[in-house]
Protein backbone atom coordinates (compact mmCIF):
# COMPACT_ATOMS: atom_id res chain seq x y z
CA UNK A 1 0.00 0.00 0.00
CA UNK A 2 1.40 3.45 -0.89
CA UNK A 3 2.77 5.45 2.00
CA UNK A 4 3.85 8.98 2.74
CA UNK A 5 7.57 9.08 3.49
CA UNK A 6 9.58 11.72 5.32
CA UNK A 7 13.26 12.47 5.69
CA UNK A 8 15.19 12.78 7.87
CA UNK A 9 13.64 10.89 10.75
CA UNK A 10 15.53 13.06 13.24
CA UNK A 11 17.18 16.42 12.68
CA UNK A 12 19.25 18.27 15.23
CA UNK A 13 20.07 21.89 14.52
CA UNK A 14 21.34 24.95 16.31
CA UNK A 15 19.12 27.91 17.03
CA UNK A 16 19.14 30.36 14.14
CA UNK A 17 19.95 27.77 11.51
CA UNK A 18 17.76 26.95 8.54
CA UNK A 19 16.26 23.49 8.21
CA UNK A 20 14.42 21.78 5.39
CA UNK A 21 12.15 18.87 6.13
CA UNK A 22 11.30 16.65 3.22
CA UNK A 23 8.21 14.63 2.37
CA UNK A 24 7.27 12.40 -0.51
CA UNK A 25 3.47 12.27 -0.69
CA UNK A 26 1.53 9.42 -2.23
CA UNK A 27 1.98 9.70 -5.97
CA UNK A 28 -1.57 10.41 -7.15
CA UNK A 29 -2.39 12.77 -4.30
CA UNK A 30 -2.97 16.44 -5.01
CA UNK A 31 -3.36 17.98 -1.54
CA UNK A 32 -0.47 18.20 0.87
CA UNK A 33 -0.27 19.15 4.52
CA UNK A 34 2.19 19.83 7.30
CA UNK A 35 1.31 19.35 10.97
CA UNK A 36 3.35 19.89 14.09
CA UNK A 37 3.29 18.17 17.47
CA UNK A 38 5.26 19.59 20.35
CA UNK A 39 6.17 16.81 22.77
CA UNK A 40 3.26 15.98 25.04
CA UNK A 41 0.84 18.20 23.18
CA UNK A 42 -1.76 17.81 20.48
CA UNK A 43 -1.19 17.72 16.74
CA UNK A 44 -1.53 21.18 15.20
CA UNK A 45 -2.21 22.11 11.60
CA UNK A 46 0.44 24.26 9.94
CA UNK A 47 -0.35 24.55 6.25
CA UNK A 48 -2.12 22.98 3.31
CA UNK A 49 -0.90 23.13 -0.28
CA UNK A 50 -2.69 22.55 -3.55
CA UNK A 51 -1.97 23.39 -7.15
CA UNK A 52 1.43 24.80 -6.26
CA UNK A 53 0.18 27.30 -3.75
CA UNK A 54 -0.79 27.51 -0.11
CA UNK A 55 -4.52 26.96 0.30
CA UNK A 56 -4.67 27.51 4.03
CA UNK A 57 -2.27 28.22 6.86
CA UNK A 58 -2.50 28.53 10.62
CA UNK A 59 -1.28 31.28 12.91
CA UNK A 60 1.76 29.14 13.68
CA UNK A 61 2.85 29.32 10.04
CA UNK A 62 4.52 32.71 10.14
CA UNK A 63 7.14 34.27 7.87
CA UNK A 64 9.78 31.91 9.20
CA UNK A 65 8.05 29.01 7.50
CA UNK A 66 7.70 28.24 3.82
CA UNK A 67 6.63 25.26 1.75
CA UNK A 68 7.55 24.20 -1.71
CA UNK A 69 6.98 21.43 -4.17
CA UNK A 70 10.26 21.68 -6.06
CA UNK A 71 9.58 18.75 -8.36
CA UNK A 72 6.87 16.23 -9.06
CA UNK A 73 7.47 14.16 -5.96
CA UNK A 74 8.88 16.14 -3.03
CA UNK A 75 7.04 18.48 -0.70
CA UNK A 76 9.27 20.48 1.64
CA UNK A 77 8.88 22.56 4.77
CA UNK A 78 11.56 25.15 5.41
CA UNK A 79 12.16 26.94 8.66
CA UNK A 80 14.45 29.89 7.98
CA UNK A 81 15.82 30.67 11.41
CA UNK A 82 14.96 27.99 13.92
CA UNK A 83 14.00 28.79 17.48
CA UNK A 84 14.04 26.56 20.54
CA UNK A 85 10.24 26.39 20.45
CA UNK A 86 10.34 24.90 16.95
CA UNK A 87 11.48 21.65 18.53
CA UNK A 88 8.67 19.23 17.69
CA UNK A 89 7.57 16.32 15.59
CA UNK A 90 6.61 17.44 12.09
CA UNK A 91 4.18 15.32 10.15
CA UNK A 92 3.46 15.44 6.44
CA UNK A 93 0.15 14.19 5.05
CA UNK A 94 -1.46 14.02 1.65
CA UNK A 95 -4.84 13.31 0.12
CA UNK A 96 -6.33 12.68 -3.28
CA UNK A 97 -8.97 15.33 -2.77
CA UNK A 98 -10.18 17.70 -0.04
CA UNK A 99 -12.40 15.06 1.49
CA UNK A 100 -10.12 12.06 1.17
CA UNK A 101 -8.28 10.19 3.86
CA UNK A 102 -4.97 11.83 4.71
CA UNK A 103 -2.36 9.27 5.60
CA UNK A 104 0.38 10.68 7.77
CA UNK A 105 4.07 10.16 7.18
CA UNK A 106 6.21 8.75 10.00
CA UNK A 107 7.28 12.25 11.04
CA UNK A 108 10.54 14.12 11.45
CA UNK A 109 11.67 14.88 14.96
CA UNK A 110 13.27 18.30 14.97
CA UNK A 111 15.46 19.22 17.91
CA UNK A 112 16.70 22.81 18.14
CA UNK A 113 19.56 23.35 20.58
Amino acid sequence: EPEVTQTPSHQVTQMGQEVILRCVPISNHLYFYWYRQILGQKVEFLVSFYNNEISEKSEIFDDQFSVERPDGSNFTLKIRSTKLEDSAMYFCASSEDRAGVTPFGPGTRLTVT
Partner: protein
Protein backbone atom coordinates in the same frame (compact mmCIF):
# COMPACT_ATOMS: atom_id res chain seq x y z
CA UNK B 1 -14.09 27.37 13.73
CA UNK B 2 -14.04 23.72 14.63
CA UNK B 3 -13.05 22.25 17.97
CA UNK B 4 -12.40 18.76 19.30
CA UNK B 5 -12.48 17.92 23.00
CA UNK B 6 -11.17 14.81 24.68
CA UNK B 7 -12.04 15.05 28.35
CA UNK B 8 -10.06 12.03 29.54
CA UNK B 9 -6.31 12.76 29.66
CA UNK B 10 -5.53 9.25 30.90
CA UNK B 11 -7.30 5.93 31.03
CA UNK B 12 -6.37 2.39 31.92
CA UNK B 13 -7.92 -0.99 31.27
CA UNK B 14 -7.13 -4.59 32.07
CA UNK B 15 -6.02 -6.78 29.24
CA UNK B 16 -8.99 -8.45 27.47
CA UNK B 17 -11.44 -5.91 28.89
CA UNK B 18 -13.35 -3.24 26.99
CA UNK B 19 -12.65 0.47 27.20
CA UNK B 20 -14.36 3.52 25.74
CA UNK B 21 -12.60 6.77 24.94
CA UNK B 22 -14.71 9.91 24.70
CA UNK B 23 -14.63 12.70 22.16
CA UNK B 24 -16.93 15.63 21.53
CA UNK B 25 -16.62 18.14 18.74
CA UNK B 26 -18.10 21.27 17.32
CA UNK B 27 -18.43 22.38 13.74
CA UNK B 28 -20.86 24.46 11.75
CA UNK B 29 -20.44 22.28 8.69
CA UNK B 30 -22.83 19.50 7.76
CA UNK B 31 -20.33 17.38 5.84
CA UNK B 32 -17.29 16.18 7.71
CA UNK B 33 -15.23 13.18 8.73
CA UNK B 34 -14.23 12.03 12.16
CA UNK B 35 -11.13 10.00 12.91
CA UNK B 36 -9.40 8.19 15.71
CA UNK B 37 -5.62 7.99 15.49
CA UNK B 38 -3.30 5.88 17.60
CA UNK B 39 0.12 7.25 18.51
CA UNK B 40 2.45 4.67 20.10
CA UNK B 41 5.75 5.66 21.74
CA UNK B 42 7.34 5.76 18.27
CA UNK B 43 5.11 8.84 17.75
CA UNK B 44 3.87 7.66 14.38
CA UNK B 45 0.25 8.60 13.69
CA UNK B 46 -1.75 5.50 12.81
CA UNK B 47 -5.31 5.77 11.55
CA UNK B 48 -7.53 3.49 13.63
CA UNK B 49 -10.99 4.22 12.28
CA UNK B 50 -12.96 6.89 10.45
CA UNK B 51 -16.59 7.88 10.24
CA UNK B 52 -18.36 9.88 7.57
CA UNK B 53 -20.88 12.23 9.13
CA UNK B 54 -23.53 11.47 6.54
CA UNK B 55 -23.51 7.78 7.45
CA UNK B 56 -25.76 6.76 10.31
CA UNK B 57 -24.14 3.38 10.73
CA UNK B 58 -21.29 3.32 13.21
CA UNK B 59 -17.93 2.37 11.75
CA UNK B 60 -16.20 -0.77 12.96
CA UNK B 61 -12.71 -2.09 12.35
CA UNK B 62 -12.03 -5.44 14.00
CA UNK B 63 -11.82 -4.77 17.76
CA UNK B 64 -12.40 -1.03 17.30
CA UNK B 65 -15.81 0.53 16.92
CA UNK B 66 -17.29 3.97 17.34
CA UNK B 67 -20.47 5.36 18.80
CA UNK B 68 -21.29 8.34 16.60
CA UNK B 69 -24.05 10.59 17.94
CA UNK B 70 -24.37 13.37 15.39
CA UNK B 71 -26.98 15.43 17.21
CA UNK B 72 -24.93 15.35 20.40
CA UNK B 73 -21.67 15.86 18.44
CA UNK B 74 -20.14 12.92 20.19
CA UNK B 75 -17.74 10.36 18.74
CA UNK B 76 -16.48 7.76 21.20
CA UNK B 77 -14.09 4.90 20.48
CA UNK B 78 -14.67 1.45 21.95
CA UNK B 79 -11.79 -0.99 22.10
CA UNK B 80 -12.86 -4.55 22.78
CA UNK B 81 -10.62 -7.34 24.04
CA UNK B 82 -7.87 -4.83 24.87
CA UNK B 83 -4.35 -5.95 24.13
CA UNK B 84 -1.03 -4.76 25.54
CA UNK B 85 -0.18 -3.39 22.10
CA UNK B 86 -3.12 -1.01 22.35
CA UNK B 87 -1.18 1.02 24.90
CA UNK B 88 -0.73 4.39 23.21
CA UNK B 89 -1.99 7.94 22.97
CA UNK B 90 -5.29 8.18 21.09
CA UNK B 91 -6.33 11.31 19.24
CA UNK B 92 -9.77 12.20 17.98
CA UNK B 93 -9.81 14.40 14.87
CA UNK B 94 -12.35 16.27 12.79
CA UNK B 95 -12.05 17.18 9.15
CA UNK B 96 -14.56 19.26 7.22
CA UNK B 97 -14.89 18.01 3.69
CA UNK B 98 -14.48 21.49 2.22
CA UNK B 99 -11.60 22.52 4.45
CA UNK B 100 -9.01 19.82 3.98
CA UNK B 101 -7.21 20.31 7.28
CA UNK B 102 -7.86 18.21 10.37
CA UNK B 103 -8.39 19.50 13.90
CA UNK B 104 -7.19 17.28 16.72
CA UNK B 105 -8.16 16.83 20.34
CA UNK B 106 -5.63 16.88 23.16
CA UNK B 107 -5.41 13.13 23.24
CA UNK B 108 -6.07 10.34 25.74
CA UNK B 109 -3.24 8.20 27.04
CA UNK B 110 -4.46 4.62 27.26
CA UNK B 111 -2.58 2.03 29.30
CA UNK B 112 -3.51 -1.61 28.98
CA UNK B 113 -2.48 -3.52 32.10
CA UNK B 114 -1.60 -7.22 32.08
Amino acid sequence: AQTVTQSQPEMSVQEAETVTLSCTYDTSESNYYLFWYKQPPSRQMILVIRQEAYKQQNATENRFSVNFQKAAKSFSLKISDSQLGDTAMYFCALRNTNAGKSTFGDGTTLTVKP
